[in-house]
Symmetry: C2
């Protein structure tokens, strides 16, 4: 059995690539192997600042990373508008692909990436970190429990965050030619994923953006709400914004239980991941107090949640190197998320109408 770690090449020196570099270092089956930037100096500095080993390859272009035959996989954190070009090229060069979210500007773009992965037998995974946290597994156990949670009836999630400084003027996430989906792609992505996750990735039948979405002068979404309705009547609302203070909640309510988590995207403390649950709750006699009281859970997190993500990705890559097929679950949940993102955009564009999702 091959015990060599999966060799990662990183395309570009994005801020988020620093976090993922650390995650690769802390992942037992993965190693930082190469970094490519359009500026060799930036690549050198990035490698020096982010714990790349002395043997790491430093390249002055993205192409050079893709042309290195020893690179097993690439992590691609470029602006979303560049994803199709570089993602397709990477998998054509037989690199497995860990792609930062939002994965594409729309599902048609994503399908080009997905099809290229399929055609080339490459593993795809988007970099939605929270789903890999051990807490997420524990929360899923709760909401899958017929006695403790029952059937999901409604879920609310939010990701609001008001970055300081000149974010609203200069960040790539407010630029139509870079990350044109704005806060919907950056933050709403997680909310939508949380609703799909709780619904066992069953697609809703109706999606609607809520009136009052805020767009900048270039048409990029800075804040919006969304609504999802499934065939069985369960619903989900979400709110994402660059204009409001931090909140990253999931409230999932089932017929028999309720789950709350307040830091589902990035734990407040990366080593401790809490959530709370309550089941079959009633008011006490005279409608005074509750019985039972909520139960607090704390899940220890041995390595950062993004290292769990990298480890799982590398495990799949290794399986493929040993003869397995790519795991299709990951591109499928990515595509479903993108379909909902697109439906929210369409709903906003058409005046907050209900958009039907094809089965």
């Amino acid at each position: 059995m091959d015990e060599k770690p999966i060799k990662f090449g990183i395309l570009g020196c994005a801020d988020i690539a620093r976090k993922v570099s650390r995650a690769i270092i802390l992942s037992p089956n993965s190693t930082l192997y190469a970094i490519g930037s359009r500026s060799l100096d930036k690549a050198k500095k990035f490698a020096a600042d982010n714990g790349f080993p002395p043997s790491a390859k430093i390249y002055g272009s993205y192409e050079a990373v893709l042309d290195d035959p020893d690179v097993d996989a690439v992590y691609l954190p470029l602006p979303t508008s560049l994803h199709v070009k570089w993602a397709v090229l990477a998998v054509e060069k037989k690199k497995h692909l860990l792609l930062e979210k939002p994965v594409a500007l729309n599902v048609a773009e994503f399908d080009r990436i997905f099809e290229a992965c399929e055609a080339n037998g490459m593993q795809f995974m988007d970099a939605t970190m929270w789903v890999h946290n051990p807490r997420t597994t524990k929360m899923k156990e709760f909401i899958s429990d017929p006695q403790r949670f029952g059937q999901l009836k409604t879920l609310h999630s939010c990701f609001t965050n008001a970055p300081s400084g000149d974010f609203l003027k200069n960040d790539i996430r407010v630029k139509p030619d870079l990350d044109g989906l704005g806060v919907l792609g950056d933050a709403g992505w997680y909310c939508i994923r949380s609703a799909l996750w709780a619904a066992d990735y069953e697609m809703p039948k109706t999606v609607m953006a809520l009136p009052g979405a805020v767009l900048n002068e270039a048409g990029v979404i800075l804040g919006c709400g969304g609504f999802l309705l499934w065939e069985d009547g369960k619903t989900s609302t979400f709110h994402c914004s660059f204009l409001a203070n931090m909140a990253t909640d999931i409230t999932a309510i089932g017929t028999k239980g309720t789950l709350h988590v307040h830091d589902f995207i990035i734990p407040q403390d990366e080593k401790i991941a809490p959530f709370s649950t309550i089941s079959q709750t009633a008011f006490k006699p005279l409608f005074i107090g509750w019985d039972p009281l909520p139960e607090q859970h704390v899940v220890p997190v041995d390595i950062p949640q993004e290292s769990y993500m990298v480890t799982e990705f590398s495990r799949l890559v290794k399986s493929i190197k040993e003869g397995s097929k790519p795991e299709k679950k990951w591109p499928i949940v990515t595509r479903k998320t993108q379909v909902i993102v697109d439906a929210i955009v369409e709903s906003i564009r058409k005046g907050f109408v209900q958009v039907q999702i094809e089965a």
Copy 2:
């Protein structure tokens, strides 16, 4: 100065009247004086079971309570469809009115009550208990703070509760001829009030029910979501349901701060009222962890929140007896809540359209 407590008469033996009887006992300026039921035996049993003093008047009709000249105020917890008749009669008989919510089947009905109170100089208050909890004052201080909270951007609230037994068949809250507003009047009322409360009772310009509302065969709402949009762009969503496990949350997000409370309607422990806040929050470098962490607040509650309500109501009644005018704040916030309730009903009836609220 008159130190005599305000004398309450209660109309009917509803379950919730047991809680309010206890609240009157525990309220320092109020006393249980009379109970009336269509059944004298039920009234006797209610008085005996709920701590009425031996001197209390036990009547075999509602009229008899209203005809007792020593009754200062009535608490009226009858089914909503009976509110107009008995509320108007009570204030015409010069009884101040503490009226259980939902106050009426629609705002036209409420206006008859409101006008009768005005014409007769009687104090009106609806029995929305949570707004009288000392915690609510503390939470309001937080969301009014320009540094800690800033400007309200969005608020989500929920009140879900799946009562056991034959509730969905036999409770008055699922009967169109008794509490025709169903869960919207029973639980949604609190959610709508919370949004208005956070918005300093400024009315939204647009209200919409969210698709997927669940109605029983008689057309009574068992579960629904709602959306509110204000002129300045702030938004609110809520979800109320008889079909999902308990959740009673407010999440209020401002430009600079976030507030969470999980038991805003009835505290899990009536003597301790918690909430949490966080201000000017950012991710730590590398997007790992949060800084600062949320702050947990615990407000001691000396008497039950419903006793604070009764005490405030009796304070106003006493002021009127001493020559003051009725406090109009309370019927005004009641009316605003009812206007939103009506808009949600209209939106559902018309197929989940946006309903514009007149300024």
